[in-house]
């Protein structure tokens, strides 16, 4: 996995990196403010406003019905959890395998994880009927002497996500400490105060570096099983029910692979945007897109395989309810969405077999967005098709999202963007010290050479 960075990338010196990255934090152009205002405004208008409307009138504002009691809110929840996956997971795996190409991109990938998780957690609140009592799902000693139900997969979910948020926050924060210190040394005023606090008095001694590396590797090892478990547990919300076509053992790997798949695609999208908008052309290169493309391709093949298995087991079960669910999925009311998903997630990614495709930026951007659209559809279909066709034919029905739901869904992207925009102004969005590690050590200024030193 050792792959030296192309030397052409780094004709830069240490100072250039500092300048570039710190410029991205300190210098704020009108473009940024426009973007922030748009994203923030859209969040308010499309996310919070409909949500408050729904809180006031009840979940009826969304399109859920009987039997489609779960809808896009849950689909979006899975989608965001999924997107959160690759960030930290990818960063951990690549850290452990010593892949140097990770270094320029992992900070933004990890941020993506964090913010996707935040959005996902918000979606839980949007989803439930009485979010003002959501704390009852958390085990805390209380006057009522009531505990949550520890048998419930939803309860596992709360635990898993809380752990994952905590873990990835610590991970991204710890990895940024040396960079905070670097920014601290080059800023003044309130920024200086903020970075002084954030950098926890980092001085860059050998001991500190040693400890940081140790702790970082430790966390990386810890987070990988965590990430896998989080999405397995999310899948149990479904797989532990006895709804035909949800009650499948393949669900945990299916969700994990799906999560990494859509997350990796998300990283490609975010990297493209970062590269263009922040002027990081030198740090995020064709090499990154090439490698991510290969990863995406493998993931897409696994995903396709698992989808095949899902269909096969449904057919092989030989029960009428599984047949009906299968038939409905492939040819029923939502079938056009199913085929759209297959095209976006299984067929189009085949293009990535070609190196030329993988190394062209715009096609990769388009494909990465298509994959995520497909993956969103997948999550929606898992819920919508299965709930529509359950055991008793009398209770069959269809569910169509309402405008409120669609608005909240779009708004959640704006929320994510807003958080990200705030992030790039606080965190150095490219890990400076690790990029420096990949560069040749600059020659010392040939000041007066010490006597006796070899020329």
């Amino acid at each position: 996995m050792h792959r030296p960075m192309t030397t052409e990338t780094f004709k830069l010196g240490y100072n250039d990196i500092h300048d570039d990255v710190i410029r991205s934090i300190v210098k704020t152009g009108p473009k940024y403010y426009i973007a922030l205002a748009t994203a923030g405004g859209t969040t308010l208008l499309c996310f919070f406003f409909p949500w408050f409307y729904q809180l006031y009138y009840g979940i009826g504002a969304a399109g859920m019905n009987h039997p489609g009691v779960w809808g896009t809110y849950l689909a979006s929840f899975i989608f965001w959890i999924g997107l959160s996956h690759s960030g930290t997971l990818l960063s951990c795996v690549l850290h452990l395998t010593n892949s140097s190409w990770r270094k320029a991109m992992y900070r933004s990938a990890e941020a993506m994880t964090l913010f996707s998780l935040v959005v996902a957690a918000t979606y839980v609140m949007v989803h439930v009927g009485r979010p003002w009592f959501i704390h009852w799902a958390v085990p805390y000693p209380n006057q009522m002497e009531l505990w949550p139900n520890f048998r419930s997969p939803l309860m596992f979910d709360v635990m898993a996500i809380a752990t994952y948020i905590t873990g990835s926050t610590i991970f991204i924060y710890m990895g940024s400490i040396p960079d905070f210190a670097a920014v601290r040394d080059r800023t003044s005023g309130w920024r200086n105060t903020m970075y002084t606090l954030l950098s926890l008095g980092w001085r860059g001694t050998d001991k500190e570096w040693h400890r940081l590396h140790w702790a970082y590797t430790f966390l990386a090892v810890l987070i990988i099983p965590l990430a896998v478990s989080v999405h397995s547990i999310v899948s149990w919300d479904f797989a532990m029910s006895i709804v035909p076509s949800l009650h499948q053992t393949i669900f945990a790997p299916y969700f994990v692979v799906g999560a990494i798949y859509s997350g990796t695609a998300g990283i490609v999208t975010v990297m493209f945007v970062l590269r263009k908008s922040m002027g990081f052309e030198q740090y995020i290169t064709k090499l990154h897109f090439d490698n991510l493309g290969k990863l995406l391709l493998v993931l897409s093949l696994i995903w396709t395989y698992i989808n095949g298995v899902e269909l096969f087991t449904a057919w092989y079960s030989g029960t009428s309810e599984e047949y009906e669910a299968l038939n409905y999925k492939l040819f029923g009311y939502y079938s056009w969405l199913y085929w759209e998903m297959i095209i976006f997630c299984a067929v189009l990614p085949m293009l990535m077999f070609s190196t030329r495709f993988r190394t062209s930026f715009v096609p990769m951007l388009i494909l990465s967005i298509a994959i995520n659209i497909g993956m969103y559809t997948e999550r929606f279909l898992i819920i919508a098709t299965s709930l529509s066709r359950q055991y008793l034919p009398d209770a069959w029905g269809t569910y169509v999202p309402s405008p409120v739901e669609i608005s909240i869904m779009l708004g959640s992207f704006a929320l994510f963007t807003t958080l990200f925009l705030v992030f790039v102004k606080i965190f150095p969005s490219v890990s400076m010290y690790e990029v420096k590690e990949t560069m040749a050590t600059p020659k010392m200024e040939p000041a007066a050479p010490a006597a006796g030193s070899p020329a």
Binding site: H66, P67, W70, F133, Q390, Y391
Partner: protein, 252 residues
């Protein structure tokens, strides 16, 4: 007792529905499909007894009907030779209820009478129980419902009016069971006897297709009727161990 066997005991108990070793009563219902005419008197009675909101035409079109008991209709064959069969469907009070395990806050649980109960105050509205219930008998309050005058005058004071964001379903008319138990307790602390308590649907059924009682009382009518050779339980293959027994319709 060794630590291990204590642990195993705890585990075995934990695996029992609702953690009970034994129920005090085991309320059961039987529905004789041979007698059911599909008149829906039970539906109306339940609506009145349990303050079930009237959601209106628009909401029904959206598929948000609320009826704790519904009469499912299944057609067989084409028009001249069409055959219609009914099956009343309400919460089956499964002793191994899938809906109970999934509620993160334990708002639905098994009580000591073998009933699957729903605590409206505790419900946070994840709607997971409705997904997990294979009988599709759980209904969700999408709004705060209102009763048009003069309907609000007939609300049953014994039953909570549910607010928005809360799940609800058939309770086997728990308020009537409670009352019967209270009366029995005042009356020399005796047990509730067969015929002391009747849910609204049973009471209103003109053809006496529904029978309700305590399964633990082997003299009871429901015990006789659940051991009828025609008995079966809906979706028994899912091992929900339900408490509603159906008596098969025998075609002449």
């Amino acid at each position: 007792m060794s630590l291990f066997s204590r642990f195993m005991d705890g585990w075995r108990k934990y695996r029992k529905p609702g953690y009970y070793d034994e129920f005090d009563y085991h309320w059961t219902m039987t529905i004789d499909l041979d007698k059911c005419t599909g008149c829906e008197a039970c539906v109306t009675a339940c609506q009145a007894e349990n303050n079930i909101p009237i959601v209106g035409e628009e909401e029904i079109a959206k598929g948000r009907e609320m009826q704790w008991i519904r009469v499912e209709r299944y057609w067989e064959g084409e028009y001249p030779n069409a055959k219609l069969s009914f099956i009343p469907m309400m919460c089956q009070h499964c002793d191994a209820a899938p809906c109970e395990t999934v509620c993160p806050v334990g708002a639905t649980y098994h009580n000591q009478d073998g009933l699957n109960t729903q605590i409206y105050n505790r419900c946070i509205g994840t709607r997971a129980c409705a997904v997990y219930c294979p009988y599709e008998v759980r209904y969700f309050n999408y709004y705060d419902h209102e009763w048009d005058s003069p309907l609000e005058q007939q609300l049953n004071p014994e039953v909570t009016v549910r607010g928005k964001g809360v799940m609800e379903k058939c309770t086997f008319c728990i308020q009537r069971i409670r009352e019967a138990k209270d009366v029995a307790k005042d009356d020399d602390r005796r047990r509730v006897q067969d015929g002391d308590v009747q849910p609204a649907c049973v009471q209103s059924c003109p053809s006496k297709a529904l029978v309700f009682g305590d399964r633990k009382d082997t003299e009871s009518q429901v015990y006789q009727s659940m051991n009828d050779p025609r008995n079966y339980r809906v979706l028994d293959e899912l091992n929900t161990d339900s408490s509603v027994f159906y008596l098969k319709k025998v075609d002449a």
